[in-house]
Symmetry: D2
Subunit: 350 residues, 4 copies
């Protein structure tokens, strides 16, 4: 159990390297008789595809998900569901210079120190490509959640310092940054153009919204719904912070301002982000993840090689300017996995 | 496994309610021959004691930790270490009004909905008192880390909107808020006085600093060191956000500003907070937790009772104005648990 | 996680040494609103008490179970249930000779080799006294099973080579060996008397019978109901073999003799012992455990001390002639834990 | 976590159905820098191949193991190792009659009851073919054990009631039943011929021998080395009993006969089978598994269909007469997994 599994009952194990045979996920614990097709998975996987936004690369990865087990006549059987995405047209030559050179902001140095061996091709296991397997697994979770009328979505809250105002759900699909604010999206475009020109990269904030949750999901004390979400989102390579509801802003509020009053018809506000004492309130669940800027940049940086000699590096090639919006669906997938797991855990005791 | 255990190899299980027989922790997986005494645990537990700061209550809880197993002649034996803290002088009568009334910002409503039964005495299992068991367990982890020359500490980064500038380690023990900035501490005192007067409460930010970590701790993909820390900190009832290194600020930075360059003598900066690709870099590990304001306030709020009738509530009695600084040692304890666990996991494979 | 926890959803963690402060169990994952009292636990624990049978010692252990958490107004709350049994009147002086001397058939040598430190008082963690915590936990599981109309019992199938014929359930409580065959019980008495006289000890076979199981419990592939039972029973120190249904006899049968035919009214036989492909059939579940003879005997044996010098040893004091029938309720408790866990796991998916 | 994973640190997750796309195993937690090739896995997998013994079918399954991840330049990297075995030339038509008919002794009835849906093609997930993934995973464990000079082997102790005398290791590869006794092997051949002629099947006993184990492996209390072995072996579909050392025979022995005396040069005997108090003694580890007769037989049996109507059934087609000796390598693989896991767990604490 070296960290490649996630979940207690709805449990996912992923495998694969960026330039190996492929990537995969095994989902163990999915209830039987859930409708599931390769198209369900493909649809979610396609949202991770590069090239749809200015922040992404021009490269065309034709990731195709294939279900290898656990589905019979269009339904899950209760057996483990193995999904595989083959790596195609892999050319590792562009990574050859980094076989002995540590890219700043990447895991090259720490992987080498930890394991004493490193598959440097395309970043190996530490590549962001690893998240494709998460999305495939998240799509299976989403199929389960669909049966329970739970719907999870993720969109861009901020990019390169430009923060969205309000929430215009229609806007999300109308701009290339998946931002719920068209005015902000236009500014993001300018910002991205400028930074790309400079050979630099950008971070941002992704917001995850889950609707339709019943009250009662989440296991106190250590496996609180928010604790599991925090782990889930922070486990994505690019994420450096996670907050629920008002989050860090709550640190500056008073109790009278932050507490959500209850009324016979329900809660009067949702500063808590849909979670109280680690358990869902039945309101909208709101979480945000801080995404660091892509570490691969053309601008020259100082680094060292495996022998600890000083070197300079300029990471060339087709690299995204920001993980946003491709990472959005990864956040969404992780949230689906958490909720599906907690749903089954709640069913076990009630 | 209903969420009361934490860790993979260094694994803690806690139990106990605020007004039951007591609270306890069972630590399974602690290596043998670690020096450990009740005084080691007591010392850490005393830092959670109320009354030491203006934010705390005047109440005197004389929490005494007792080691029930797993230690022989001053050393751990490899057997599970059970620690118990007896509840003394418990009087639940002050909580009788809340037996059927949901306190806003507390888990009363969600616990009732989840379990259909609720031990309302002192908040039951959802009480912040639960964290005493975490601190006891964290003290055992700290004893292990001490052998490895790893040192973890937590202090106040912000309180009631007042943010500390810089880091004056000497200051931490010189002000009642455990703030590393004496000037900020003085402003905090004024803020706390005013809010206490108003019958309201405050939140803040705790910073955790771990020093002496070797490079290589953390298990990709899902059990990254930062992911485990995020879960650990977010599992504390009062925490609404967690960030590592530059955290949410990273979302607004460019790659060239955020990346930490490497030099022959080590990293040139530490924006990453000591973690790259989920694995410790050997630098200082820096994490922050956003603490929400204490939900129990004297100011009148709207709520409902179990029958969903509208009611108003004013939570009287001795309540802290802020979880800070009592929660600091809880954050520290959780970080110790995470690091101890990852240390053993790394030993297993290398 | 050093092996002191058991179960996936209905999860027990035990702690304690023979001559320490006491023994305990924390049960995490018990559903809420199960009726549970200390008397329920005490009743099962009393069956482990010595002195009730000729095989047992004359010693009087007054084991008293105390519930420390997780129960409110006579019902479980969903919070972890901590149970403690205090060690009373402990005198370790009789064990002083074995502080540096390895008793054959005991874990003295292996514990020393594994941990480099050993709590030799009363056998420490390796004492059979450890099983008291299992019985306490099993009683909680039994309370859950009772709600589901599942009933588990254990009795003696063989002792000292004398095997019971048939199954006379009334006989079990009418003889001191808990044998379902009065004639066999009489022969066992003679055998025990003779062996006790010789300063030797005896083994035997315990049979566990679970009735009322629904069809469908058990998780293929690795967590089959029989696999979990095998682990559960084999984890009892005295057990050297486990079999289900016809067990080892099945190895000598043909398929036509072993297969249980199905008829519209149900299975026509039960050679499988109530489990097919790791899943309960809804028939009686039958498992047997082989119990080795008590290793502490008065007869002189050859051994070594910690310095590997040859020594001879004669273990004096009040020792049972056989673990049977005291171990029966331990087997029963372990079976209860397995079934309770599988029951919750099945509820989670169906 | 529906039972398709095994192990705590060296953790295997398997997937796949008999007539689906294939079978696979993901091994998470294998230390880095272990030499591993597809040939290592293939060699072990080939021993599971049918047709090598009279008990097996004439069918030719060309199972080819393919490593999909976790190995780089001939060595493990610490990343999860995915192994896949494609299903080739699958024709499910022979199983069509059993889509609605429950084969006695198989999991058809229990799977249907548990999940409400069943992939009947080739037995689906409940097929013995599932064990191919175990063997692939076991081969990875064996590669790790090789580095530690631990060697595990499995052979036939009994078949169809004919029990081997003594242990002639050379004989194992000289007879088609992998029996360490040539005389017994000859009798087995006669027995198999007769039973095959009658359209019936046979069971037997497999013995697993592990040599080179260090003293100290095994985690008390619940994860004892023997408990884990019992679970591991009993989780194989055909196994109905497991014993360690003298096993069930120990139940009839006295303490003076069963205890293994210690001498300065080591233990004087090995009745315990290499395990004391759940921890390896450093001696040979000896375990046995009782294998039930193959349930698929040509002889007509009574059964029911999904609508509970009485039916008769005669399972035609190429079926093995006995799981022995094909199941031997499966037992060996499971033992390798258990030992590898306990080895890493011991490294973590010592």
């Amino acid at each position: 159990m070296a960290g490649n599994s996630f979940g207690t009952l709805f449990r996912v194990t992923t495998w694969g390297e960026s330039h190996g045979q492929g990537l995969g996920a095994v989902i163990d614990g999915c209830p039987p008789k859930i409708a599931l097709s390769e198209a369900d998975i493909q649809q979610m996987l396609d949202r991770r595809k590069p090239g749809s936004a200015k922040t992404g690369t021009a490269r065309k990865e034709a990731d195709q998900a294939k279900i290898l087990s656990g589905v019979f006549e269009g339904q899950t059987t209760g057996a483990p569901i193995a999904v595989m995405i083959e790596n195609k047209n892999v050319d590792s030559s562009a990574y050859q210079p980094y076989a002995d050179l540590y890219r700043p902001g990447h895991g090259d140095y720490t992987y080498d120190a930890k394991y004493g061996i490193r598959d440097w091709r395309g970043g190996g296991r530490a590549s962001a490509r690893e998240t494709a397997a998460r999305v495939a697994a998240g799509a299976v979770a989403a199929a389960l959640l669909k049966r329970e009328n739970i719907h999870v979505t993720a969109y861009t809250r901020a990019l390169g310092g430009i923060v969205c105002n309000g929430f215009d759900s229609a806007a999300i699909e109308q701009n290339m940054f998946c931002a719920p604010d068209m005015a902000a999206a236009r500014k993001m475009e300018e910002r991205v153009d400028a930074v790309k020109q400079a050979g630099d990269s950008l971070g941002g904030i992704v917001e995850v919204l889950a609707q339709g949750l019943p009250v009662g999901l989440g296991e106190p004390v250590f496996d609180k719904l928010d604790a599991e979400l925090a782990r889930a989102l922070m486990s994505i390579g690019a994420v450096k912070g996670v907050e629920i509801g008002e989050g860090f802003a709550a640190a500056g509020m008073t109790g009278s301002a932050h507490n959500d009053p209850l009324a016979p018809e329900g809660f009067a506000s949702n500063n808590a982000g849909g979670i109280l004492a680690g358990i869902s309130t039945g309101q909208d669940l709101v979480a945000r993840a801080a995404i660091k800027p892509i570490p691969s940049i053309a601008i020259e940086q100082q680094t060292v090689d495996r022998s600890r000699h000083a070197r300079s590096i300029s990471v060339k090639g087709r690299h995204d300017v920001s993980a946003i919006p491709r990472v959005n669906v990864v956040c969404e997938a992780m949230a689906c996995l958490v909720i599906a797991d907690q749903l089954l855990r709640q069913k076990a005791i009630c």
